[in-house]
């Protein structure tokens, strides 16, 4: 049986891509070291940054908030209540986020989609004729950015991991989505009313993040969002993991080589759509009225239809 490379203890994980077995005491140290290395490699954060962590109650975002705090960064949380009532999903997710906030003794801000946009995500999606994941993503990106701007945060950190990024990359490559590929990077610098966005966990697989969160004693919502059933991302992740089983290190090579070699070329060649302030709310958009303000309008007219006004 393999032993922990650092202390010869009983391992909890063997990472074939690194040829590295680590025990439960050494693994969190390795994980924090790699997080810091990723932050430095991509120049994601400076000590002066005021960081807002997008906290969902899942393993990735809670693990990220904990890791950043352990590394000495001043990071607060923002939980966006999506209003998903099925299985009390949103309520339970929020409670996990609140538990960690208490442990870290850091502020957790909470915004509700129903209050901010007029309806919870499932109804908003229906009213605006979007699939729930698309409505949800647009609203979350908007609320995180607006909240960060209004409250002086200089960086939004999200818990996207290597599996998320590699699956998104595969999806974008299969359709040659040039504009999306040009913007797929572990750091998106601030510009035109958009706060800097960073993904310090891009180096880790989902399993590695889950293990860190569990070993750190952080309870998180294990249940999937009820709307994610059958999502394309799950299929792509499964495909990539089958490749990884045969050829360890492929996921990271696929993603990191793209980020280092291909994305800069695309970013230079494909001009980004120009951003201007939304005529209603002033937040950056490529249209005259931003997507969230349009959803607000749809939510209001849907309400009128529902109440017979």
């Amino acid at each position: 049986m393999k032993r922990c490379l650092w202390c010869k203890g009983k391992p909890v994980i063997y990472m074939r891509e690194h040829r590295l077995a680590l025990c439960k005491a050494c693994y969190p140290k390795w994980f924090l070291r790699m997080t810091e290395r990723t932050i430095k490699e991509f120049r994601m954060l400076t000590p002066d940054d005021r960081i807002l962590v997008a906290v969902s109650g899942g393993k990735d975002s809670l693990g990220l908030w904990f890791a950043l705090t352990r590394l000495g960064y001043e990071a607060d949380g923002l939980y966006v209540d999506l209003g998903i009532a099925a299985d009390e999903y949103s309520q339970r997710s929020k409670e996990f986020a609140q538990q960690l906030a208490q442990r870290l003794q850091r502020p957790l801000h909470i915004l509700s989609v129903a209050e901010e946009v007029g309806k919870p995500v499932p109804e908003l999606a229906r009213a605006s004729e979007r699939v729930p994941c698309s409505a949800c993503g647009a609203v979350k990106r908007y609320l995180f950015n607006r909240f960060a701007l209004e409250n002086g945060y200089t960086a939004i950190a999200t818990g996207h991991n290597l599996d998320d990024e590699a699956a998104t990359l595969l999806g974008n490559v299969l359709r040659w989505q040039g504009e999306y590929l040009a913007r797929q990077a572990p750091i998106l610098p601030a510009k035109d009313g958009l706060v800097k966005r960073v993904k310090p966990f891009v180096r880790f697989t989902e399993k590695q993040v889950a293990l860190f969160t569990i070993l750190s004693g952080i309870p998180y919502i294990e249940q999937e969002c009820p709307f994610s059933v059958g999502a394309a991302s799950l299929f792509y992740k499964d495909l990539l993991n089958r490749i990884e089983e045969r050829s360890p290190g492929t996921k990271w090579a696929f993603y990191s080589q793209f980020v280092h070699k291909v994305q800069p070329l695309l970013a230079g060649a494909i001009s980004e759509p120009e951003l201007r302030p939304c005529l209603r709310c002033g937040m950056p958009t490529t249209a005259e009225i931003c997507v969230v303000c349009r959803m607000k309008t749809a939510a209001i007219s849907d309400g009128r239809i529902a109440t017979g006004e």
Partner: protein, 53 residues
């Protein structure tokens, strides 16, 4: 049976699955006893797939 064999039987990828016996996290080569109770945690989460960065 080893953890690896268990995951194979359950058709789960070792790349995305954690197996716990009580508080103890098990590696793939760990041998399971017949009366062991284990918890299998899928680390994969899906959902929002924006096809962008």
């Amino acid at each position: 049976m080893t953890v690896q064999e268990l995951l194979k039987e359950l058709n789960l990828s070792p790349e995305s699955t954690l197996v716990l016996r009580g508080e103890e996290v098990l590696t793939e080569d760990e041998r399971l006893r017949e009366d062991d109770e284990v918890r299998v945690i899928s680390a994969i989460s899906g959902g929002f797939f924006p096809l962008r960065g």
